[in-house]
């Protein structure tokens, strides 16, 4: 055993195998990240069908560019970034990210005293998917991925102010949805 060389981790072996184009290693990498990345794609795409399309393109990109992975961040973060970028490109190709100038009534529902514990993941996902594409993008990037509005503006080719404004609207719409569902639930329980 060579004491002077650092032993290769499983991830290193996986990456090396994928760079070499070994299909079994690519399958292992897919199995490792596919479930998490599927949900990422589902958050950005309106339907499961489109989410799978995005995921397919993104994984092909991952395998084509894995040689460029510099190991300066976790592999999962790098793969997730490719998923997000592919989703943005996918929706940009469909011109769903163009900013519309429609006037929307935004009312402030600033109550932060609610909880999402009563909601299933599917319900939350459906709420996010029901947002308009441009709101969905900004909401995902800001609230879940953790990008700031300047970064989001650069990614979506919009101004920082537009990003803030769109996020604000997305947030209000989600709050309205939650409030409406809670009212429906209360009405249902009271009536029953």
């Amino acid at each position: 055993m060579n004491l002077f060389t650092k032993p290769k981790s499983e991830e290193d072996k996986l990456i090396a195998g994928c760079i070499a184009g070994k299909r079994e290693m690519q399958r292992l990498l897919y199995d490792q990240f596919s479930k998490k990345m599927m949900l990422v794609c589902l958050r950005y795409a309106p339907t499961t069908f489109e989410a799978e399309d995005i995921m397919q393109d993104a994984f092909v990109k991952v395998f084509a560019n894995i040689g460029k992975f510099k190991r300066d961040c976790p592999l999962e973060f790098w793969v997730r970034k490719i998923m997000v970028n592919t989703a943005l490109k996918h929706l940009r190709g469909k011109q769903l990210l163009t900013v519309s100038h429609e006037a929307e009534e935004v009312s402030n529902i600033a109550a932060d005293g609610f909880s999402l514990t009563g909601y299933t993941l599917d319900e939350l996902l459906r709420m996010v998917q029901s947002l308009a594409p441009r709101y969905r993008m900004v909401f995902n990037l800001y609230a879940i991925e953790g990008y700031n509005h300047k970064e989001i503006g650069e990614m979506l080719d919009i101004s920082e102010g537009t990003s803030k404004s769109q996020y604000s609207r997305a947030r209000v719409i989600l709050q309205q949805m939650i409030t409406r569902q809670e009212n429906n639930y209360k009405d249902h329980v009271i009536s029953s």
Binding site: G21, R23, Q26, R27, Y30, S34, K35, K36, M38, L39, L42, R43, T48, E52, M55, Q56, F59, V60, F63, A64, V106, N108, A110, D112, G113, F114, S115, L116, Y119, L121, L124, L125, V128, Y142, A143, I144, G146, H149, S163, K164, S165, Y167, S168, R171, V172, L174, Q175
Partner: protein, 553 residues
């Protein structure tokens, strides 16, 4: 309006992030199969691209090898052939061949058929009954000479239909010219095919008119040929006008087709067409490292002296020792002289004479080098030094007497010393002029072959000794020297090139430069055996096509 971004992340963001960031969802089972298929397709397309590249590379290498081999074979096969000539006298059994066989053997393949007017006129109805020119020729051949003696003549005439059935060079050219271009859309292809069919109809009409005229000549006799020609011409004109009018009507009825053609023509300008839009002028730089063979041997006279020496008594005088050393020095020179590293640098201007033919002219610098090892030095012992030797008084290399005209060995003292290196260097200013032909291999790759002549003006020649006590000699351009001041050479090169971005292209290929004369100014009176020098090297060039700004703008 309130903006959520104006305040810190609230509970909503945290709740969503906690629930969704690391959540999982199971993709459908066939997603991996789709990815796998996509990867397979991608890999196979990359493999195909690589295969195309390697095939092109292999084809280029084979072409280069064939060209280089051909050039080499041609060069080395020019040695005098003293062998007996091949016997051209026919073998004895050849006399026993029949006259028909002899006639067939001696006739060239494209001998025109011999149609006697009588033979043709004998069966006019058969000739006119034939519907096309091909059957017409066969009928004429078959009915040309009935009778017993027809066997020989039938064979002779039967050779003709083969030639007449083939498309004539001019019509073949027309067919090639209208061959369908690739990359057309359906509409454009339909339009193209319509035009092609019209052109074919015109050609058929022309042939029919010519045939009618020929039939009429035969029927009417030679006295009415001008009348028949005029009638055939008029008929042809009438028919062609009908066809053209019909074509015009179709064109008017389908203007959209023409517009589509124009649009396609505008959009689908190929790279080749774009290249043609460029200026005819180009400039380039070339560098050619090469292998130089100067073809100058040691003095032959020394060998004679050596032979004489062996018959003399064994008492060795200083002159005898000198002669013996001279002989050994010659052998050493012959054994150790090797071509040295040589190179040429040229700046060239190109002018396109045609689409693929280019005239090249330029200016360059050549440095040709040979080297040897020597263990002997020579020094003149008398005052009457021959030409070429008056430049040195100190010990020098044995090469120098080889260039002299007089009985050098009688006036030289040859001494032995430790081995030292000698370099023979010739610097030329070269003015090449030549033609280059280029052909496409792919979109960006092309091959080229070129030939030309060059005037090589000797700037400096040097005999450089590595030993400090052995004199080095240098002849500048204006100094009298044993070397030729102006040498003409023939240059030949071939290779492959690649068009890069913009108007740049690079080429690489072997180059042969053969001088028409020897290096020596007065080869008739020198003692050295000498031949014509040559260089074989690799030419690397960068070219820039002028006036290509339209493309980049």
């Amino acid at each position: 309006m309130s903006s959520a971004a104006n305040h810190q992340r609230g509970k909503l963001e945290d709740e969503f992030k906690n629930r969704m960031h690391d959540a999982e969802a199971t993709p459908s089972q066939d997603l991996w199969a789709r990815i796998d298929h996509h990867l397979t397709v991608q890999e196979s397309s990359q493999y195909k691209k690589r295969m195309v590249f390697y095939r092109q590379l292999a084809a280029a290498c084979i072409a280069l090898l064939v060209l280089a081999g051909g050039a080499g074979a041609y060069y080395f096969s020019r040695a005098p052939q003293g062998g007996p000539q091949l016997a051209t006298t026919p073998a004895p059994h050849a006399n026993t061949r029949s006259s028909s066989e002899r006639a067939e053997a001696t006739l060239p393949a494209h001998t025109p058929p011999v149609h006697t007017p009588a033979a043709i006129a004998a069966t006019p109805e058969q000739a006119t009954a034939a519907s096309g020119p091909q059957t017409r020729n066969r009928t004429a051949a078959g009915t040309a000479a009935p009778g017993t003696a027809a066997a020989t003549r039938h064979e002779v005439v039967a050779l003709a239909p083969v030639a007449s059935e083939t498309v004539s060079p001019s019509s073949r050219f027309r067919m090639d010219a209208v061959s369908e271009p690739s990359g057309l859309g359906n509409t454009a292809r339909a339009s193209f095919q319509r035009h092609t069919s019209i052109q074919r109809t015109m050609e058929a009409l022309a042939e029919r008119a010519a045939f009618n005229a020929g039939t009429f000549y035969r029927q009417a006799g030679s006295s009415s040929i001008p009348v028949a020609a005029q009638r055939a011409d008029a008929e042809f004109r009438q028919q062609s006008e009908v066809v053209l009018a019909r074509a015009r009507q179709q064109d008017e009825a389908q203007p959209a087709v023409a517009y589509t053609d124009e649009a396609l023509g505008g959009i689908k300008k190929s790279k080749k067409e774009k290249r043609d839009e460029k200026s005819r002028w180009s400039v380039g730089m070339a560098y050619a490292p090469s292998y130089f063979e100067q073809n100058i041997g040691a003095p032959n006279q020394a060998m004679a002296m050596s032979s004489r020496q062996s018959l003399m008594p064994s008492v060795a005088s200083a002159a005898d020792m000198s002669a013996m050393y001279m002989d050994e020095a010659r052998q050493e020179y012959d054994a150790s002289t090797d071509p040295g590293f040589s190179y040429g640098v040229e700046a060239k201007t190109g002018f396109k004479l045609g689409k693929k033919l280019k005239l090249l002219a330029g200016l360059g610098f050549l440095q040709n080098t040979a080297r040897s090892k020597a263990s002997y030095v020579v020094q003149p012992s008398q005052r009457n030094m021959p030409f070429g030797m008056n430049a040195f008084s100190a010990p020098a290399t044995v090469f120098l007497p080889a260039l002299s005209a007089g009985p050098a060995t009688d006036s030289l003292v040859v001494a032995k010393r430790p081995t030292y290196d000698v370099e023979y260097r010739y610097r030329h200013l070269t003015v090449p002029v030549g033609l280059q032909y280029e052909g496409n291999i792919g979109n960006d790759w092309f091959w080229y072959g070129g030939a030309g002549v060059a005037a090589n003006i000797l700037l400096q020649s040097s005999i450089i000794s590595a030993a400090s006590d052995v004199q080095s000699l240098e002849y500048d351009r204006n100094e009298p020297s044993p070397f030729r001041k102006l040498q003409w050479s023939g240059n030949m090169s071939a290779g492959v090139g690649k068009r890069l971005a913009g108007n740049m292209s690079v080429t690489l290929g072997p180059e042969v430069r053969s001088y028409f004369t020897t290096m020596l100014a007065d080869p008739g009176s020198t003692q050295a055996s000498h031949g014509k020098p040559y260089t074989v090297g690799m030419n690397m060039a960068v070219n820039y096509e002028l006036g290509g700004g339209k493309r980049s703008r």
